[in-house]
């Protein structure tokens, strides 16, 4: 059983945190990851910055831009996290856009993920059909979970298809928005979560986009195995940097 499977078997109300690698300073990646582990986060989405992050709102865009200015790259990321499994036990998922992975070489990228102990990937602009045709075998042989997104506009039929090809959780995008949209959870979102839950899916779901505090986190956890906090955490890093105390406090305030 891999780290992701174990997490979803053993825990509920999973607190998942996104942050951008190499932000706010180039060498902050490991200190932030360690502080999240120590502070009690259950799962991390480690963002690989991209020049054109079209599904992201202003906060994560700005963090990506800064990280790239700092000199962040995929090569650098693998150097930074090469020994992470000595001290990090929670699952770590890399999240980013497909072009840098394509440029790096998908085969090589997957091999490196396996070597350093990355558990899964979220590549929102890698099309589902292309994944199945060209990469599914590669990912599955390396035991790297490809994590798909669903949105309020995704049809039930497509959700079921995605479910049957998921080897870990499904990322439930809470509303038609980019990351960092600041809203309370509305009734139509609840209706959507309820619809998804009625489909008898086998993969666990984690809700993301618009989860920023204890209240939205708790609401999301009523309808899924957990929730992902992204922009709100990146804002904390923008303000305080890789301050372990502040990061632990942030997690305690959510959970």
């Amino acid at each position: 059983m891999n780290r992701l499977q174990q997490l979803f078997r053993d825990k509920k109300d999973i607190c998942s945190v996104y942050f951008t690698a190499g932000y706010p300073n180039l060498e902050d990646t490991m200190p932030v990851l360690q502080a999240l582990e120590d502070g009690g986060a259950d799962l991390v989405e480690l963002g690989m910055p991209f020049s054109d992050p079209l599904a992201d709102g202003p906060t994560i865009q700005a963090s990506s831009e800064k990280a790239l200015e700092n000199g962040m790259s995929i090569k650098k990321l693998f150097e930074q996290i090469k020994d992470m499994r000595k001290t990090i036990s929670m699952p770590v998922v890399l999240m980013g856009y497909f072009n840098p992975v394509f440029k790096y070489g998908v085969n090589e990228f997957i091999t490196r993920c396996q070597e350093v102990g990355v558990d899964g990937l979220i590549l929102p602009d890698l099309p589902f059909d292309e994944y199945r045709e060209k990469y599914q075998q590669l990912f599955e042989e390396a035991a790297i979970a490809n994590i798909f997104l669903i949105t309020p506009q995704t049809s039930n039929e497509r959700i079921k298809l995605i479910d049957s090809n998921s080897r870990s959780f499904i990322y439930v995008v809470s509303s038609a928005s980019v990351t960092g949209a600041k809203k309370d959870v509305e009734q139509k979102q609840i209706d959507y979560f309820t619809r998804v839950n009625s489909l008898g899916l086998t993969a666990p779901r984690v809700i993301g986009f618009g989860i920023s505090n204890r209240s939205t986190f708790n609401t999301a956890c009523q309808y899924a195995s957990g929730a992902i906090i992204g922009s709100a955490f990146v804002k904390l890093l923008a303000e305080h940097g890789a301050d372990a105390g502040k990061i632990e406090e942030f997690i305690k305030n959510i959970k």
Binding site: A55, N99, K103, D125, T151, T154
Partner: protein, 397 residues
């Protein structure tokens, strides 16, 4: 070997190994929906009737195919200019916006969004929206807004809201990202009107079909003007590549016609200040399409440079990538200076001030050898009014 559909998109929007729809799931339903209906709408009688009527009476088509006698004499061949510069709003862009507006209307969308670099596509979109009474939001890089004040004013006068893209390099590629973000957030009522043969499938194919009127007319006009029913050469400039796609469309399967695409090499292909995407030859994914693009070793998309705002896009339409890959089209490039010279030459010899984009196509004349009985068609994609500030500065007028 000549398969009728060799150079066109397959059902997945692939041109050989290029194209596709590399989009986040949030955009999937929008794209799927458009993919399902666009061909049917374009083929329908009601669309064709309305589109053709607008092209004729509103855009002013057919645009002339003009025999440029003095230019022909200089190059010892027969040069014909396809005068897209004479269209309403001054460029070929309007062919596409009028067509997509009708598609949007057929789909029941009442809010139109668009990206623009220099503002030409923004103006063409705002024009079509004013014509149809639809709400129009144009995303434009903050840097471009400052550089292109007259076009910003035109869009505003036409009733469009111009929104500054303040992320990244604050130019065309960032405006495109902002438009895509808007579409993610407004999937129900909004139609994204892309200005070139770029973006996820079905945009490259849809835009090429709407610009295909250019080559449809060339074919007919060249038959009337020469003793052959085809030209020997068709030359067009290429940034994203919509005027080239339209100029080539009906000749793709006619191997007698040599297709020449001219990229903008800015200060030179190897100068680091260029937009010659094909010449640099790096594959990757930009704005939902697998194609050639300008990127760093880490796969970050880099900022292109050209004196021509309409050609400084870091990618190129996937069909052009395929035409290059298969050798069907020849890709040349022209520098800023070569294009400025070509613009001045056309002005002096023919009394036509071309857009800087079109000047790149004209610059190809100095890079090629023609026979005295060849017929050479060059698409003048737009007029030079918008570039007068550059011409004034460079030529000291």
């Amino acid at each position: 070997m000549s398969n009728q559909n060799n150079y066109q998109a397959d059902d997945n929007g692939m041109y050989g190994q290029f194209g596709g729809a590399y989009i986040p799931e949030m955009l999937y339903p929008n794209i799927e929906n458009l993919k399902k209906v666009y061909k049917e709408i374009i083929a329908s009688d009601s669309f064709q009737k309305e589109y053709k009527a607008l092209l004729k009476d509103y855009v002013g088509r057919p645009s002339p195919l003009y025999y440029a006698a003095r230019l022909s004499e200089k190059y010892q061949t027969n040069i014909y200019l396809k005068r897209e510069d004479l269209n309403h709003t001054g460029a070929h862009k309007i062919n596409n916006t009028v067509g997509q507006i009708l598609i949007a209307k057929h789909m029941g969308k009442d809010r139109i969004i668009a990206e623009t670099g220099a503002g030409q596509h923004g103006v063409a979109t705002a024009t079509a929206c004013a014509l149809m009474g639809l709400k129009c939001v144009v995303y434009m890089g903050e840097v471009d807004i400052k550089r292109q004040a007259p076009n910003v004013a035109r869009m505003k006068m036409l009733g469009a809201e111009v929104v500054a893209a303040t992320s990244g390099s604050r130019t065309l590629k960032d405006a495109t990202n902002e438009a895509l973000r808007d579409w993610i957030c407004n999937p129900e009522d909004t139609f994204y009107l892309i200005g070139s043969v770029v973006g996820p499938h079905p945009y490259p194919d849809m835009v090429a079909r709407l610009q295909a009127v250019i080559s449809e007319e060339i074919k007919q006009q060249i038959t009337e003007k020469t003793n052959k029913d085809y030209p020997d050469y068709v030359i067009a400039c290429v940034g994203g590549g919509s005027n080239a796609a339209g100029s080539f469309y009906h000749f793709l399967d006619d191997q007698r016609v040599k297709l020449i695409a001219v990229e903008a090499s800015g200060m030179g292909v190897d100068s680091g200040e260029t937009a010659a995407t094909i010449a640099l030859g790096d594959k990757g994914i930009i704005h939902g399409s697998l194609t050639f693009l300008m990127q760093s070793d880490d796969g970050q998309i880099t900022e292109p440079y050209s004196i021509s705002a309409g050609l400084d896009y870091p990618g190129i339409g996937p069909q052009h990538a395929h035409l290059f890959d298969t050798g069907r089209a020849t890709f040349l490039s022209a520098t800023d200076n070569e294009s400025l010279d070509a613009a001045l030459q056309l002005t002096k010899l023919e009394g036509i001030i071309p857009a800087l984009e079109s000047a790149h196509a004209l610059a190809a004349l100095n890079k090629m050898k023609f026979k005295p009985d060849d017929s050479v068609v060059i698409t003048v994609s737009g007029r030079g009014d918008k570039d007068m500030a550059t011409y004034m500065e460079r030529f000291d007028f």
